[in-house]
Amino acid sequence: MANVRYTEDHEWVLLDGDIATVGISDYAQEQLGDVVFVELPDPGRVLEQGGEAAVVESVKAASEIYSPLAGEVVEVNNDLADRPELVNESPLGGGWFLKIKVADAGQIDALMDEAAYQTFVEGLD
């Protein structure tokens, strides 16, 4: 996923036209441990960039997931209701969280690319 971008809060975002798919990074799922529940927003909800979009619960922690870009939620990953473990198994694939119709695609330029994110994560350890 060459075009994937990351936030410092460990969300990833992939833009296709004006639709952005959002999830959490492999590093994030590893830090959280076994994910047991993901609370997703209702489609139609308008999110600000950096606004709270979802909540991910692992066995003994709960973390807010922030929207990397501003826009309107058009779809959420309903598979996570029954299989939250997808977040651990395939964070950048079947474990995606939501899709938003972005308001300003230009916002993505400020986010980190794969290489920059890897450097950022290495700096955290």
Binding site: F37, E57, K60, A62
Partner: protein, 447 residues
């Protein structure tokens, strides 16, 4: 030895430092009518024996339901608590244990909580129950806030059959939130229909069954009306023994059940501590407040108990937690569980039937007294009667004869036009002789 080691000069210096003239000024934020306006009328210094005598004399002026024919109810009910309950809850393993902060080490405590939750889920007809709340009123208020989170809607509609104390707690707990509470007028006849008032902004409808006035309702049409509009039905139960005789709230379509569990295992104790029950559907469990105990197996496949879904709670979620409750009514919940275990399913149903049968007998006797009109067409173990005189005065008059004839509605709804209404509750504790004294007392008082 002085109990308070401050001198008057110390006090004066401290007050001067913070810039007030007197200690009383520190309490100006407390409403004036709630402040003590003088010293408490108690004897001065005395020896232990004299103090005991003075207090015993004062205590003897109480007329306790345990030593009088008592028809008091209105949310707190006198039932027989088997001696086994008290014996078991006083074991130090239970009595001195606090809500476990390293929970899994306290397997016995967790097992009792799990059994409590199982019993609550069974009698309410719901899929999941928490490890208890403070009391029925706080459970109800938590249910309202839970419905708000689940529906993201701003209004809760409160039945006129809900106990006014419960309504007050809902209003207090939602006061600084963006929730609004719309309360229906007092429903003394049990005829209200809230369905037309439900709209797209209604998070939940809160009804009590049986109601404050004792009426029993089939809640299925109201549940359907709620669900039709995307609202949730919250059912409050103040007399939990009624669940042994009625279709459960869950079977009638409730989404959240909030109940007072005092009737099982817990003494009246001047109004507390009691135990709040709270149950819901499995799909709503993420928004359920309070502690939740689960059964699982350890690495060797042995049964064990854990506190689960803690991510809902304040020690993990902080300000985003479902509630600021971090505890439960552990000992009262245990008493509830022991009492209900002793009764068993058949015994629980028999107890409920016994209550209802005796209440029918009392209602029939009351209806035959000149100056008494029994308002209820339906009831479980409590009825509302309209007297030919103000109920508060009649209640006082009978209390002077050692009879606790019931709760005047005016005490609960001071502003309402209900001076002559009296709530009369009848449990298995009421003897035939008690009933005779009640009827004779009322007959004489209303003559």
């Amino acid at each position: 030895m002085r109990y308070l080691p401050l001198t008057d000069n110390d006090r004066t210096d401290m007050l001067a430092t913070i810039g007030v003239d007197s200690v009383d000024e520190l309490f100006v934020d407390v409403p004036a009518d709630a402040r003590l306006d003088g010293p408490v009328d108690l004897p001065g210094h005395a020896g232990e024996l004299a103090v005991e005598r003075a207090f015993r004399e004062m205590a003897a002026r109480n007329l306790a339901p345990s030593s009088a024919p008592s028809f008091l109810g209105a949310g707190a009910y006198r039932h027989h608590v088997p001696a086994t309950v008290d014996h078991l809850i006083q074991r130090s393993e239970f009595l001195t244990a606090y809500t476990p902060y390293q929970p899994e080490i306290s397997q016995g405590t967790l097992q009792t909580l799990f059994e409590f939750q199982t019993q609550v889920a069974l009698i309410t007809g719901m899929e999941v129950a928490n490890a208890s709340m403070y009391d029925g009123a706080t459970s109800t208020a938590e249910a309202v806030m839970m419905a708000h989170r689940l529906t993201r809607r701003g209004k809760s509609l409160v039945s006129g059959g809900l106990h006014p104390h419960y309504r007050a707690v809902i209003e207090t707990m939602t006061r600084f939130t963006d929730l609004t509470v719309a309360a229906a007028p007092a429903d003394r006849s049990g005829v209200e229909d809230l369905a037309p008032l439900i709209d797209a902004d209604t998070a939940c409808v809160v009804v009590q069954n049986p109601t404050l006035f004792g009426h029993v309702a089939d809640l299925r049409p109201l549940a359907a009306a709620c669900h039709d509009k995307g609202a949730l039905l919250v059912v409050a139960v103040t007399e939990v023994v009624s669940l042994g005789a009625m279709l459960s709230p869950g079977d009638m379509g409730a989404d959240i059940v909030a109940a007072e569990g005092q009737s099982l295992g817990v003494a009246l104790s001047f109004g507390g501590p009691h135990v709040g029950l709270m149950a819901t559907r499995k799909k709503f469990v993420r928004q359920l407040p309070g502690r939740l105990c689960g059964e699982t197996v350890d690495v060797d496949g042995r049964r064990g108990y854990v506190l689960t879904m803690s991510a809902r709670e304040q020690h993990i979620r902080r300000e985003k937690a479902t509630s600021n409750i971090c505890t439960n009514s552990g000992l009262c919940a245990l008493a509830f569980t022991i009492h209900l275990s002793l009764l068993g399913e058949a015994g629980f149903r028999r107890l409920a039937r016994l209550n209802h049968t005796r209440a029918i007998a009392v209602a029939d006797r009351l209806a035959a007294v000149a100056g008494i009109d029994v308002i209820n067409d339906t009831f479980f173990n409590e009825v509302t009667v309209a007297l030919s005189k103000p109920a508060a005065a009649v209640t006082e008059h009978l209390a002077e004869q050692g009879i606790l004839c019931g709760v005047p509605v005016s005490r609960l709804l001071p502003g309402e036009d209900c001076q002559n209404l009296l709530l009369v509750a009848v449990t298995e504790m009421v003897t035939d002789q008690d009933i005779d004294r009640l009827i004779d007392g009322l007959t004489e008082a209303l003559r």
